[in-house]
C-alpha cells in the first residue's frame, strides 16, 4: 500500500486557512505580502502568516508560502530579507518558479518546492531540480499518468499534482496574453485571465462563428474519477487550486477529497467511485470539470464554451456560527436565500453530512420567520443533530 498522500488546500486568508485545515487538509499554501502569483488576492501579512503557521502546526499540519513570481531586476534586492521573514514565521516550505530563489532560500534555511510554472513533465528535468536541492516538484498539469509514473520510477523526490480547480489554457508560464492585452504581468501575479475572454475567430478572411464565441476557456480539473490511480502512482501531495475561492468552496472540495482518500485507504478492495461526490464538486464550482491530461482527454470535451456567463454559487445557504445543545438551534449566518420547508444538508469538520427539512427559523429577536433573504443575516434554525461551529448548510444535493 502506498503512503497516504498529503491533501494540500489553498488559503486565501486566515479564515480560509482555518477552514481548510478543519475540513481535512494536511497542508495549505498561501501567498504572502510579496512575490506571489496572486497579487490581487487578499494575501497574508507576515503577522497573519505567523498566526496561520501557529494554528496549522498546533494541529500537526503544514504551511507552504508561494514565492512563485518570475522576478524582474528590481525585485531581486528585497528577496533575501523577505525570505528571512518567512523563515522566522516557521513556514514549512516555499513554492518557487524562478530558480534564482533557490540559493537564497537555502541560505536562510528554507525548504524549496518547485512550482508548476516550470511545466515539468519528465524525469531528466526533475533530476536537475533534485540536484539543485528542491525537495518537491509540482508537476505540469499537462502530465499524463505515464509521465508521472516515469518520473516516479527514475527519481526519488516528492511529487505534487493538481487534483481540482481551474486550469491554465496554456502550459503554465508560457502565456503572456495578459501582458499584451491588459499590460498586467501574468508571471508576476497580475494575470487578467484573458483565456476566459471571447474572441472572433477568422480564417481565409471569413468569420468562423459557432453558436457560442471562440474562447480559450477550458473546463475545470477534477481527478475524483482517477484518484485511486493517482494514489497508486505514489504521488506525494494532491493539490487543490483556488486561493481566491470562498470558504464554502474550500470546505466542500477539501471535505470531499478527504473522505475519498480516507475511504480508499480504509478499504481499498471495496472502494467505489461515488457519482454523488462528483455532483457536489460540480455544484460547488458552478463549472463543469473533467480529468483532462492525466488520461489524455483534453480535446473538445475539455473546452468550455459558455458565453462568459458564470453564476455565483447558489447552493451555499449559510455558515453555522453557534449551536445550542439544549434547544437544538443552530445559529446561522446567511449566504444565500432559504426558507421554511427547504430540504437542506449540513456538513462540517469531522462530522457526517446529514439532511433535513427546515421546520423552524427564528430571527435575532427570536421571532419566527419564514424566509431568510438578507446577505449575512443571522438566524436560528432548528436542526435534528448536533452541529459544530464552522459547519456549512447547503441545498440538498
Amino acid at each position: 500500500m502506498k503512503n497516504k498522500p498529503e491533501l494540500l488546500a489553498p488559503a486565501g486568508d486566515l479564515e480560509r486557512l482555518k477552514i481548510a485545515i478543519l475540513y481535512g487538509a494536511d497542508a495549505v499554501y498561501l501567498g504572502g505580502p510579496m512575490f506571489g502569483l496572486r497579487a490581487n488576492a487578499n494575501n497574508f501579512s507576515l503577522e497573519e502568516i505567523k498566526e496561520g503557521v501557529l494554528f496549522a502546526h498546533e494541529k500537526g499540519k503544514k504551511v507552504y508560502v508561494t514565492v512563485n513570481i518570475v522576478m524582474h531586476n528590481k525585485e531581486l534586492e528585497a528577496l533575501e530579507t523577505y525570505l528571512k521573514h518567512l523563515k522566522e514565521c516557521q513556514v514549512d516550505a516555499i513554492i518557487i518558479s524562478d530558480p534564482a530563489i533557490i540559493p537564497v532560500a537555502h541560505k536562510v534555511g528554507l525548504e524549496v518546492h518547485l512550482s508548476t510554472q516550470q511545466s515539468t513533465l519528465n524525469y531528466e528535468a526533475v533530476k536537475l531540480w533534485k540536484a539543485l536541492g528542491v525537495t518537491r516538484v509540482v508537476i505540469a498539469r499537462e502530465a499524463s499518468e505515464a509521465d508521472i509514473a516515469d518520473i516516479k520510477n527514475h527519481v526519488a523526490i516528492e511529487l505534487e499534482c493538481f487534483i481540482h480547480g481551474a486550469m491554465c489554457a496554456s502550459y503554465s508560464g508560457r502565456c503572456v496574453l495578459s501582458n499584451f492585452l491588459t499590460a498586467r504581468d501574468s508571471n508576476r501575479g497580475g494575470c487578467s485571465q484573458i483565456c476566459r475572454w471571447d474572441f472572433d475567430l477568422y480564417g481565409d478572411d471569413e468569420k468562423l462563428e459557432g453558436e457560442k464565441p471562440f474562447t480559450f476557456c477550458t473546463k475545470d480539473l477534477s481527478m475524483l474519477k482517477v484518484l485511486p490511480k493517482m494514489i497508486e502512482l505514489g504521488i506525494d501531495s494532491f493539490k487543490i487550486e483556488g486561493r481566491m475561492r470562498s470558504i464554502y468552496y474550500i470546505a466542500t472540495i477539501v471535505s470531499v477529497y478527504r473522505k475519498v482518500i480516507d475511504s480508499y485507504f480504509k478499504d481499498k478492495e471495496h472502494y467505489q467511485y461515488q457519482e454523488r461526490y462528483e455532483q457536489i464538486l460540480t455544484n460547488c464550482a458552478n463549472r463543469e470539470s473533467t480529468v483532462q491530461f492525466f488520461n489524455g482527454s483534453y480535446g473538445v470535451e475539455a473546452q468550455y464554451y459558455n458565453g462568459r456567463i458564470e453564476l455565483s454559487n447558489q447552493d451555499f445557504l449559510g455558515v453555522i456560527i453557534d449551536y445550542d445543545d439544549e434547544t437544538g438551534y443552530a445559529t446561522i449566518e446567511e449566504r444565500n436565500y432559504f426558507k421554511l420547508g427547504d430540504q437542506v444538508e449540513i456538513f462540517g469538520p469531522e462530522k457526517e453530512t446529514f439532511s433535513f427539512k427546515i421546520t423552524e427559523i427564528l430571527d435575532e429577536e427570536n421571532q419566527k420567520i419564514e424566509v431568510v433573504n438578507h446577505p449575512l443575516q443571522v438566524v436560528k434554525v432548528k436542526v435534528p443533530k448536533e452541529v459544530t461551529k464552522l459547519s456549512m448548510m447547503r441545498k440538498n444535493i
Binding site: A39, N42, N43, S45, V70, M71, H72, N73, L76, S97, D98, P99, A100, L121, N122, Y123, E124, A125, L128, A143, S144, A146, D147, D150, A169, S170, Y171, G173, R174, C175, V176, L177, N179, F180, L181, A183, R184, D185, N187, R188, G189, G190, W197, F199, L201, Y202, G203, D204, L208, E209, G210, K212, F216, F293, Y298, G299, V300, A302, Q303, Y305
Partner: protein, 292 residues
Amino acid sequence: MKYMMVVNKKEMVEKVWDLCDAFLFGIQDYSVNFPYYISLDELKELVIKLKAKKKEVFVSLNKNFHHEELEGLKQLLEALKTLEIDGIFYYDIALVTLKQEGMIPFPLIWSQEHLTTNYDTCNFWQKQGVDMALLSGEITLDEILEIRKHTTMKLIVPIFGYLPMFVSKRHLVKNYLEKFQLSKKNTTYFIKKEGNTYPIIDHKYGTEVYSASILNGLTESIVLKEASIDYGLITSFMIEMDDMVKILKNFHEANEKTAPVLEEEINLLLEKPTDKGFFYKETVFRVKKYEK
C-alpha cells in the same frame, strides 16, 4: 551586435544570408513558436552551406518534452553532434541535465521565452553550464541594459517580428471548429478583439498565439549594440521574403541619425501594425485598490 535570423521558409536562407550573422532553426517535432520547421536532413544540408558562408547556426529544441519524447530527443542530440552547430536553445530543463551529463557538446541557450527576465537567473543558469540567454520580449529596454551590466552571459534580444504570447498543448482552433461543425481553413487563423488581430496557429503539438503588432526595434537596436548585447533576434513570421531583405538592409544601415527614417520606412513597407513591444512599457501586476 550580430543579427540572428529566423526564416519562414528554407528558400529565405540564401536570400538573406549576406545580411545575417546567425540563423536559428526550429526542428520538426522538437520546437514550438517557429514559422518553419526544418528536418534533420535539411538541416545537415544547410549547415554545410551556412558554414561555407561563415555563418553561425543555432537550433531550438524549445518544446516541453513528455517522457515518451526523451528517447527521440537524445537520438536527435546524438545526430546533431555530427554537425557544426553553434548552440542549442532550450525551454525544458531536461536539456540542462543532458548538457551536464555530457550529451550536449554545444553551448546551451536559456530560452524560456517569458521567464528570462532578470540577471540573477541568468547568472544562476550560467553556473549550471548554460552559455547564453534569449531575453524575454516582455521586459523594458532599461531592464535589458541592467541585465547586461550584471551578467557575463552572452545575451540575445528580440528586436524585430511578431512576439510569441501563448503556447498550449490544447488544439484550441480545431476544438472550436469541431464543436460547432465549422469547416477547416488552409491558412493561418486569426482571433480579433477590441480592434486588434492576433495570429493563432493550431498544429500537431497544440496552439500558439502571437502579438497583434510586429515589434520594430530598429532604433533600439542601436542602443543595444552600444550596450554590447551579443545578438539581435529577427523573426520573419508572416513577413514576405522581399520585405525581409529590405528590413534587414535597413537594420544594417541604421545609425543614430538615420534610424528614425529607416524605421519608418519599415513601418510603411509592412502595411501592418508595428510597435515597440515592451521596450518602454512596464507591465503591472497589482491593481491599486488591493495594494498592501
